[in-house]
Symmetry: C2
Subunit: 337 residues, 2 copies
Amino acid sequence: MEKPATIIDIAKALNISPSTVSRALNNHPSISSQTKEQVNELANKLNYHPNLTARNLLKKKSGIIGVVVPEITSYFFSTVITGIQDVVSSVGYKLIISQTNENFDEEKKLIHEMAQMRVEGLLVSPSFNTQGFEHLEDARKAGIPVVLFDRDIPGFESSKVFVDVYDGAYQAVKYLIEAGCQRIAHIAGPEHIPTFQERMSAYQNALKDYNRELYPELIIKSTGFSAEDGVEACEHLLSQSFDALFCVNDAVAIGAMHVLREKGYKIPEDISVIGYDDEPYSCYFSPGLTTIWQPVYDMGMLSSKILLDTITKEKQTIRKEILKPELVLRQSSVPLN
Amino acid sequence: MEKPATIIDIAKALNISPSTVSRALNNHPSISSQTKEQVNELANKLNYHPNLTARNLLKKKSGIIGVVVPEITSYFFSTVITGIQDVVSSVGYKLIISQTNENFDEEKKLIHEMAQMRVEGLLVSPSFNTQGFEHLEDARKAGIPVVLFDRDIPGFESSKVFVDVYDGAYQAVKYLIEAGCQRIAHIAGPEHIPTFQERMSAYQNALKDYNRELYPELIIKSTGFSAEDGVEACEHLLSQSFDALFCVNDAVAIGAMHVLREKGYKIPEDISVIGYDDEPYSCYFSPGLTTIWQPVYDMGMLSSKILLDTITKEKQTIRKEILKPELVLRQSSVPLN
């Protein structure tokens, strides 16, 4: 491969000093327009890529926002990113995205590297294994504002945008109670994931608040949260009697409905099913899946708006926003009387 | 916000020259270990972020691979990216990802910026509106190898990894013919998208090759390729008589099946349906959707392996790989006799 051209190559070729080349490339007023023209022409010809970081230090702008998320392949995070992209692109910023795969070390490295690239701001959803926030403080001390979204790091003082996960789960279970369901089962997600813990607490508290008995045998803690995990969990649950099923997410609900249909149960006549997320296909199942819609796109939009405000106003204002989810009624749950 | 510390701040504080600081930070042999220690200690304390690009020019490594894709929110591209990430992470590289939203200008800017960050290589799936390849040649001339995947730019000489889209569509239609279907309809995607054009050509050629009549009224050109577009297209199609439906992708097939079920058609007894993509939920519909599985994850893995080979061997070897899709039979299509 060819070596990239440097300022020194250009300087030698034009018989001028490297600092003259540098100032010419940065449009410095002390350099004649003739020299600037010569330098820029040769830079283009030699395919010289300016040292972005150095130039950014002069300009104090990189025009880049960094996004660090656990993963980008789920409907959830890809929709947040779409919201971010739409806001950020509209004001001419570029987005670079990296995924931590729920690995804290990876998260630290990625934040560090993005700081080195001098991103103008960071939008971060920390991994489940993130402990402490020194890595984010480091970025902030280097002048890079940080907005957290979806997941919190308690004690880290920054703008934060979350969805009220507890409220969504509570709405779902409250609906099933009010619709007259007596034995409401729950397929929970892996215990170490705070979002899923909140959904479980909301399920338990809704039952308590409405003076319903909590049947421990009706709670299945799944080891994952895919449709396949829903199939497995629901097969275990079939030894119990229940007339409603609140699933930790739509994927699990879709797997569970598959099992229930195969076993000849009628949804919702025999068993009502509610999911969580309102994924794009959830309305196309038969019956359509009742679920919780979350303002995920809005979360991306709002996080990036707050970040851009912080960048452009050059003062660190801290905002905490909690967005409300909504129950979307379809045919998989019995209607209210 | 605090200003980031510079080499000059560190030099002033320690009463040494900036070039000494720079050499100390880069572990230059001419600098005493005592000075190196002092400099590094203060750099940590002041939260100094080294100029990555300058340091990379010395080291000639950034450890970063750039990925530029039309979008990251579809199952297709997010799965390719997972394949890329798995390979690249395993050898300690970091990934930064950007989406063009099918905008050629955006693509040019993103490629340029990634080159400025001195990514060590680029994995690119060009936008539908990309014309020419000067932007990619520029990156390559700057010493950054490029591998194209999924979509081609004819004339651009680089390693390329594609899936044989035509073959997948041909397999689907051939199956329907061999299963005895007489009037096979097609919901096609938007005409300007080459991938969808190929699926349409395969549909037409399979009918020709098997001496079946082509009924123009059984082809609906949809303006989009979502489940909603499938609903709309299928409603138009209902005025025609047909016993099989090949859809441009799973999303469209899911929308179409929804309409057919609502109108009381039995799938596959009245109408066989085949999709394309094998999305994660396609097996959970009732009936499960027959579709074309594409080695999308493998495409990501292979593209990044080829790129890493080029980077580490420091010679530009050109490989062109075409991966084969497979027909996945489920219950939405009639069985072969």
